[in-house]
Structure formats: C-alpha cells, structure tokens
C-alpha cells in the first residue's frame, strides 16, 4: 500500500489539521473530530449536523458552511462516529431552534446517531433525524438493513441547509430533507476496489476486464460482477436501475459522482451519456454536478444520483452556498 499519509493511526486527525489550516471559515475540533462553521450557531436557525465514517471526502466536512451543514462528525475510515461526537456537535450548533441529524442509512450510523439523539434530547436539545437511503442497488425490505445512503446525502444537506438559512422551523427543514431523499435514487459502479489504510490491501480483487455493479461507498463489492463495457452502456445500466425504481421524468438534478480515483475527463464522458439517456426518456437535467463529491478513498468508478425536482427544491438548490467543496452565489 502506498498512500500519502504519515501513519495509519493518524490519517483522520492529520487530514482534519490540514482542513483547518486550509479553510479559515471552519473551526475544527481535532480531538473530537468535529468540523464546525467558525461563525458558530445562529440564534433561531435550525442547526444541521451530519457525519459518518471518513474516506468519503469531501463528504461531510467539505459541506460545512453557509447554506449547508453547521457541523460534521468524522469517524475513522469507513466507521461511523460515536455518540459523544454527535452530542458535542448537536449541543454546540443548537441556536435554540433545534437540530436536524442527517444520517446515512448504515447500521452503525443509525445506531450511533440514535443514541446521540436520545442523549441530546435529555440535555434539552430538540433533535429530528432524517435517514438517507437512496441506493437502488440494495433491494429494500423490512427484514434487511435497508438501502444505503449515498449520493443523495449531498442533495439533502444542500437543500435542507438552504431552507434552514431562511429561518424555517425544524419540522419544515426535516420535511424538505425527507422529500429530497424520497425523490432521489442512486446507483454505483466500481472499476477498481479501494485500499483502506487499516487493511493495507484492496478490499476485493477485480481483473482487468471485470467491474462491480451496485457498489456502495465503503469499498464493499457490488451486487454483481460483470464484464467491462463502454461508458455509455454503464451509464444506461445505472440510469435504468434508477428509473425502474423511481421513474425519471421532467426536470431532474443529476450528479455524476467520481469514487475518488477516476479522472474528471471520464466523469464528463459519463455525463454526456446521462444527458443522452434523459433525452430518450423525455426528461432533462435542469441542474447537475460532475465531480468527486461522495467518494470511496481511491476507488475508480462512478455513481449517478438523480433527484426529481420541483419548484421548491430547484429554488433551494440554487440558493447561495459557501463551503469548501460546494460554492456559488457568494
């Protein structure tokens, strides 16, 4: 394993130190692995807290700032943070209007955030939680862990964050967050595995002609292995999986997301195919993001997330945002 790190044990704190040095708009509690807005809580504004395992950068810390998150808790690589961090973050960002927890649907994240929500409640903070579970590769069912939260997390954080800036009350912010999740679906494809510092070797083996379909963002293998195909076919396959679950029509917000090791030029090739596909369906990408936003360390591959927009969501998406990884309008 060759990684640009100092020590397997200090990956997360070292990166947080760099983040703190790079972005004066952030306050970073390196010991507790929490990233805050430097400006602190705004009285009357609902606080947004998210977090999860590290290794998905820029998610979540890259989305802390005006118009998005108030705090992000960083766990170890691919390991959800612990309740202590979440409680600390929750109480710190509460401006009196309560706090929204944005939780990706993984057993670890769910259990830790649940404990944190209970204990924060006992400390007098009003907390609502929103689960993100947009990954159609996982067939949902009462008897399983359910779907994974992937690309839609960014959409939820951006749109709920924009509404929170307007001073909307907690139930409203939670409502729009749930609506974004309900209208969003994702599907991911891996061309290569990733290597976690702890394991030191690739999370799975893949020949030079094979790919993994329906992967998550933790280096796990996908639902099926398949032969490598042209970008256009991979995109159509992903779009069909999404469409089958939530028919794509009208105006959409589309993200072509790189898994971390795939160059931007390839992501644009995929996006061109996405647009072709939408046209065939009589839909269009009214808004888009193309880049590395919800990654899986150095994995090569991509995921597509589609959100069916309405007037409210479009307006909130367009609202100004100022974070280290997403910025416009100011």
């Amino acid at each position: 394993m060759k990684k640009l790190i100092n020590d397997v044990e200090s990956v997360v704190p070292d990166a947080l130190r760099g983040l703190a040095a790079a972005h004066p708009g952030l306050r970073v509690d390196v010991d507790n692995q929490i990233v805050f807005r430097a400006s602190g809580p705004r009285p009357g504004k609902v606080g947004l807290v998210s977090g999860g395992g590290s290794g998905h950068e820029p998610l979540h810390a890259g989305f802390v700032g005006y118009g998005m998150l108030d705090a992000a808790c960083a766990g170890e690589i691919f390991t959800s943070p612990v309740p202590d961090q979440m409680i600390e973050a929750t109480t710190a960002v509460d401006g009196g209007a309560g706090v929204l927890h944005i939780v990706k649907n993984y057993t670890g994240d769910v259990l830790n955030f649940r404990m944190a929500a209970e204990l924060s409640g006992e400390e007098g903070v009003r907390v609502e939680s929103v689960l993100v579970d947009d990954d159609v590769a996982v067939r949902d069912s009462l008897y399983t862990a359910g779907r994974r939260g992937t690309g839609a997390t960014l959409f939820v954080e951006k749109i709920a964050g924009a509404l929170a800036e307007t001073g909307a009350p907690l139930p409203e912010v939670a409502r729009v967050a749930r609506e974004v999740n309900a209208r969003s679906r994702s599907f991911g494809v891996a061309l290569s595995p990733c290597t976690t510092p702890a394991a030191g070797r690739p999370t799975f083996d893949l020949s030079d002609t094979e790919i993994e379909l329906g992967i998550g963002i933790h280096g796990e293998p996908g639902r099926t292995r398949s032969a490598m195909r042209p970008a256009r076919e991979l995109v159509h396959l992903a779009m069909d999986a999404i469409h089958e679950d939530l028919p794509i029509s009208g105006d959409t917000l589309v993200m072509v997301n790189g898994m971390g090791g795939t160059p931007l030029i390839e992501l644009y090739i995929a996006y061109a195919a996405v647009v072709e596909h939408l046209a065939e369906k009589g839909a269009r990408a009214a808004r888009n993001l193309v880049g590395n936003y919800v990654t899986s360390l150095d994995m090569q591959g991509f995921s597509i997330t589609v959100c069916r927009l309405n007037e409210e969501l479009t307006r909130l998406w367009d609202a100004p945002v100022e974070t280290s990884a997403l910025r416009w309008g100011r």
């Binding site: 170890e76 994974r148 394991a199 796990e220 293998p221």
Partner: protein, 213 residues
Amino acid sequence: MSTAMDTAFFAAWIEEIARVVAAEKEWLTGLDAAIGDADHGANLDRGFTAVTGALAAKGPDTPGSLLVLVGNTLIRKVGGASGPLYGTAFREAGRTLGDTPEVSVAQLHTALEAGLAGVRKLGSAAEGDKTMVDALAPAVRALEQALRDGKDPAEAIGAASEAARTGAEATIPMQARKGRASYLGPRSVGHQDPGAASTALVVSALHTVATSW
C-alpha cells in the same frame, strides 16, 4: 475454578479479550473485507485498548460496575455497528449484576442473557440473519443447558464457548439480512460473519480465564 468470579475475574476476562482481539485483528478485518468494509478488527482493537485504559483509570470495584464501564467505553470509542451493539451487550449484562461482589454461574447466565436481549433489541436481528447474535444466542443456551446438567462452572463456560464457535462457523452458509453484509445479497453466502467470529473470541476468552482461575 478454585475461587469465585469476582471483580478481578472479570477484569482478567476483559484483559484476555483485549489480548485476543489484538492478536486476531488482521483476521477479523479480513473477514470484514470480504462482506463488509474491512474495519471490524481495527474497531474492536481500538475499543478494547480504550477499555483497558478506562479500567486502569477507574478501577471499578464490582463485576457489575466493571461490565457497565466496559460497555460505555465501547459505545464511546468504537463507532460503527459493533460499538453500540457490543457496548449495549456489556452494559446490559453489567446492569443485571447490580453490586454483587461475587458472581455465580447462574448469575453469569442471566447477565449474558440480558446482554443478548440488548443486542437483539438494538439491532433487531434474529438468529439466522448472519450477525453476532448467531454466536451469542447459542452460547447463552449452552450455558443454561450446562447448568441444568449440573456441570461445574469451567465446564459450563467451555460448553458456551464451544457453542459460540459453532454458531459463528454456522454463519458461513447464511445469506446476511442485517448489517453491511446484507448489501451483498446472495454474495454474502460463503463467508463467516466478522461480528459472530469476534463474539466467539469473546466467549472463548471467558473460558480461557475460567479454566486458569
């Protein structure tokens, strides 16, 4: 087992767990790489290292308070799915012991049963879902049976350890319905569940200590 299961006994158990987990760290992480996210070994090792520190610092004076401290520390330090689950198991087990200075095998059984119930409640996993429950549940049953059969403490705990190991291995042909492995669907078949494997290590650590006590 010449002497009783007192606080020192439980401290020795936890130390043995920490030792075994550190030794088997790579193996557990490897199991997790196959059907999860390659961190289970690292997670537990981080957790039990913190636990050893906490015990040294606080030095709890009853088996119950010791296990509760273990549970809380795991919840605070591990994260992931196993943190809250193992943490709850130890905390619930500790709670049932109240402040008895010495624990009988019957009380041990009640404690482990409470731990299992805590895990079941938090994770809502049933046996057969390919989780730690598939190792812990048979262990608790075996301990109860051994008690009914009037086995001596060390023997009884040995039976529980054996049952946990068998239960963990029995997860290999299962298709996961809970945890990350469930995302793999049918592809989760053919691999041992990391949490079940670590649970077997935890129970066998109990047996190791019991035999030399």
